[in-house]
């Protein structure tokens, strides 16, 4: 017992020491002012500073913005790398990814060939990654919050990109000398904010210019669709979500999904319930507010084709909503539409679908990609 706690304290001291050394090194490097700074236009949670021989990437602390930001130092200068052993060598040639979101960014930047390890590959549909896993060029490192540290050491990647958890599961990986980059894109609450994290990923591969132009193109298309939506002269009422285990989860006013509805120029029934996450209500609260809404927008995950009868089998009370009676339910079947993976980099297409479906009076007639109107009985 004593032995164990002794070891634990030792590990803790080592960790703290590591942290301190890092911040000191950081201070030393901050002395010279950056040559250039990239401040994102849509994202709020990162920035990149360019120095003579290195880049400094700053990510806002995921849970507490008053705390010190998470800093990564990137450099291709061998002398600098020798002096700063914590810095990440770029362009990254071997890296490990833990989420399918990161794969979507990497796909856009064409840096999937550099992936050598992937956590939970069963959730990734990207064919390049699947092929890599099959052929053994990409190793399965296990679950995202308990990766196989030994395998990671053997893979010896230049960088491992993680998604933040409240609890830091990466202590052992860090102490094994694996350099970690924290990707907080999912905490961004606007569609374009999430897209812009492409630039963050690009800094590790020296592909910022490519990333920026991709982001600008997407933003332009997104704004074009938004302009079209503004031409509609009525704002239909819309509600979202359904119950799960007795609780109705729906988007808070400033959340990612509610921002889509806002940009689609519709009247989301909970638009004054502030927050960036999800709201949980009981059935009657939602029913009272949504019973007479014109549209019902759903994201489902169904192996079969979704329909009204399936919906009312789930909960017979759903049939009492006006949107259900008038067959004005729109849905995305994430099992087929890939709205979470591919949709991340195509918010303009998602918005286009929403505007076309929720504003039929505009007479738009493009091919629907992510959302459909629920027509099946």
């Amino acid at each position: 017992m004593i032995k164990k706690s002794g070891l634990f304290i030792l590990a803790l001291v080592a960790l703290v020491a590591c942290k301190q050394r890092k911040t000191e090194a950081d201070k030393g490097m901050q002395k010279n002012t950056p040559i250039a700074t990239y401040k994102p236009s849509y994202a709020n949670r990162f920035k990149v500073e360019y120095f003579k021989d290195h880049k400094r990437v700053e990510v806002v602390h995921p849970w507490d913005s008053t705390q010190a930001p998470i800093v990564s130092i990137l450099s291709e200068d061998s002398l600098f790398l020798q002096e700063n052993p914590d810095a990440i060598k770029i362009p990254v040639e071997r890296w490990v990814s833990v989420t399918s979101t990161q794969i979507s960014y990497a796909n856009e930047l064409e840096v999937l060939q550099q992936v050598v390890g992937m956590a939970e590959p069963q959730y990734v549909s990207n064919p390049i990654v699947q092929k890599g896993i099959r052929e053994g060029t990409i190793r399965n490192i296990g679950s995202a919050f308990a990766p196989d540290a030994e395998l990671l050491m053997a893979l010896h990647p230049d960088m491992m990109m993680i998604s933040p958890f409240k609890e830091d599961f990466y202590g052992p990986v860090r102490s094994a000398g694996i350099k970690i980059a924290t990707n907080c894109s999912y905490l961004e609450n606007t569609p374009l904010g999430r897209v812009e994290w492409l630039v963050y990923v690009a800094t590790f591969f020296n592909k910022e210019e490519q990333a920026k132009s991709i982001v600008e193109e997407i933003a332009k298309r997104y704004h074009d669709v938004k302009e079209i939506a503004l031409k509609a002269d009525s704002k239909p009422t819309v509600f979202t979500g359904k119950t799960y285990q007795g609780v109705w989860y729906t988007a808070a006013a400033e959340s990612y999904n509610a921002n889509f509805l806002k940009d689609a120029n519709v009247n989301y029934i909970f638009k004054d319930r502030h927050g960036t996450g999800s709201l949980s209500y009981d059935f009657e609260t939602v029913y009272e507010s949504a019973a007479n809404s014109e549209f019902w927008s759903l994201i489902v995950n169904s192996p079969e084709t979704y329909g009204y009868s399936l919906l009312s089998q789930e909960d017979e009370r759903y049939a009492d909503f006006r949107a259900f009676k008038e067959k004005n339910v729109i849905y995305s079947n994430s099992n087929k539409s890939m709205i979470y993976e591919k949709g991340l980099m195509e918010p303009d297409v998602i918005l286009q679908d929403l505007v076309q479906l929720l504003h039929p009076e505009l007479g738009l007639d493009k091919e629907l990609v992510y959302y459909q109107k629920l027509t099946k009985e």
């Binding site: 069963q122 679950s143 709201l279 209500y281 789930e314 017979e316």
Partner: protein, 348 residues
């Protein structure tokens, strides 16, 4: 004289319980996160049309099925708990003691967590298919453990052994659940945790077509167990001397409790505490060990307490619902402690 007085006391206690049950049931229907005027509720209860269709739907399709769920689940768990306490002669026994709720948990874990890991589908989004699968899995898990316990009950003559086996089954299931959780994604773990918190607001009328008959069979079955339970109080040897078929009585007690626990856990999640606390509370009030009094008493008391907890979980002015387990344990624990303290001071 003395006898007549206690009889009178019991009768008034029953009347009081019945009235509180009724009041709590009405309160459950009248109060909720959406304000509906009491007049409208009363009008609706007497079968009159009320002008507001939304209110009518909320009352009929949301609050009434929830109140019925709470009532039946509370009554069933309390009856199961009393039977286990008598059978095992252990005041700490409850309906979960046989490992049946752990079995249900294991069933749900296998479906929720393994489904996610193998298929790459998060059950959280599966909807109808998902929610029915969870119920079915919980029921299968519970029934599987029940059969195992019944099988062992035939081999093991000793009830204490059976008790230990039940607890071991519980440990083994939680270990497997822990392993599955470790291997699963956040979303799936979240849905499993939510299931484990218990809830009375999952059942719509079409689910009730299964739930009500099953629980009613269990409750009526419990009434037939009054005599064997009373005889068992005297000790198994004595009971056998009195001509009770111990084996058969034990088996029927296990089947009835198993059916109640499996059904309620499958539909409401593992609802804690009611099954353990209500028998003690009833014994404290009625001051008897006679099951012809206790069985109906725990049913009424269990139903009333579950309704009270459900009411608190959905406090007006509060948009969401608290997990039912948090409420049952928070309310139940102090009540049980106070009853025990009171009883101790009486005996001294």
């Amino acid at each position: 004289m003395q006898k007549g007085e206690t009889k009178q006391r019991k009768r008034s206690a029953f009347i009081l319980l019945g009235i509180s049950l009724f009041v709590l049931f009405v309160l459950n229907i009248s109060l909720g996160s959406v304000y509906i005027p009491f007049q409208a509720v009363v009008k609706w209860m007497f079968g009159f049309q009320i002008s507001n269709e939304i209110w009518e739907n909320i009352l009929m399709k949301s609050r009434l099925p929830q109140a019925v769920t709470a009532l039946l689940a509370g009554a069933g768990l309390a009856a199961g708990g009393l039977q286990m306490q008598t059978l095992f002669r252990n005041p700490l026994a409850g309906p979960s003691i046989l490992g049946i709720s752990s079995g249900a948990g294991l069933g749900v874990a296998i479906v929720v967590l393994l489904f996610g890991a193998i298929q790459g589908i998060s059950l959280a989004g599966l909807g109808w298919f998902g929610s029915l699968t969870i119920t079915a899995a919980a029921f299968l898990g519970a029934i599987w453990v029940l059969f195992m316990v019944l099988f062992l009950a035939r081999k093991l003559k000793n009830n204490a052994m059976l008790l230990i086996v039940g607890i071991m089954v519980g440990y083994a299931s939680s270990a497997i659940v822990g392993l599955l959780q470790f291997l699963s994604t956040k979303e799936d773990i979240q849905s499993f945790v939510v299931w484990g918190l218990g809830s009375f607001n999952n059942l719509t009328w079409d689910r009730h077509t299964i739930f009500i008959p099953m629980v009613v069979i269990g409750l009526v079955g419990s009434l037939f167990l009054i005599k064997p339970l009373n005889v068992l109080l005297l000790g198994e040897n004595y009971a056998a001397n009195l001509g009770l078929n111990i084996k058969r009585s034990r088996l029927s007690i296990l089947v009835i409790t198993g059916l109640l626990t499996a059904t309620i856990t499958a539909f409401c999640g593992p609802v804690a505490f009611l099954g353990l606390a209500v028998p003690h509370l009833s014994k404290g009030i009625f001051k008897t060990a006679d099951h012809s009094v206790l069985i109906p008493a725990v049913m009424l008391f269990g139903g009333a307490l579950a309704l009270l907890c459900h009411l608190i979980a959905r406090m007006p002015g509060f948009d969401g619902t608290l997990p039912i387990n948090a409420v049952t344990s928070l309310i139940g624990a102090p009540i049980v402690v106070s009853v025990i303290l009171k009883r101790r001071s009486l005996t001294q």
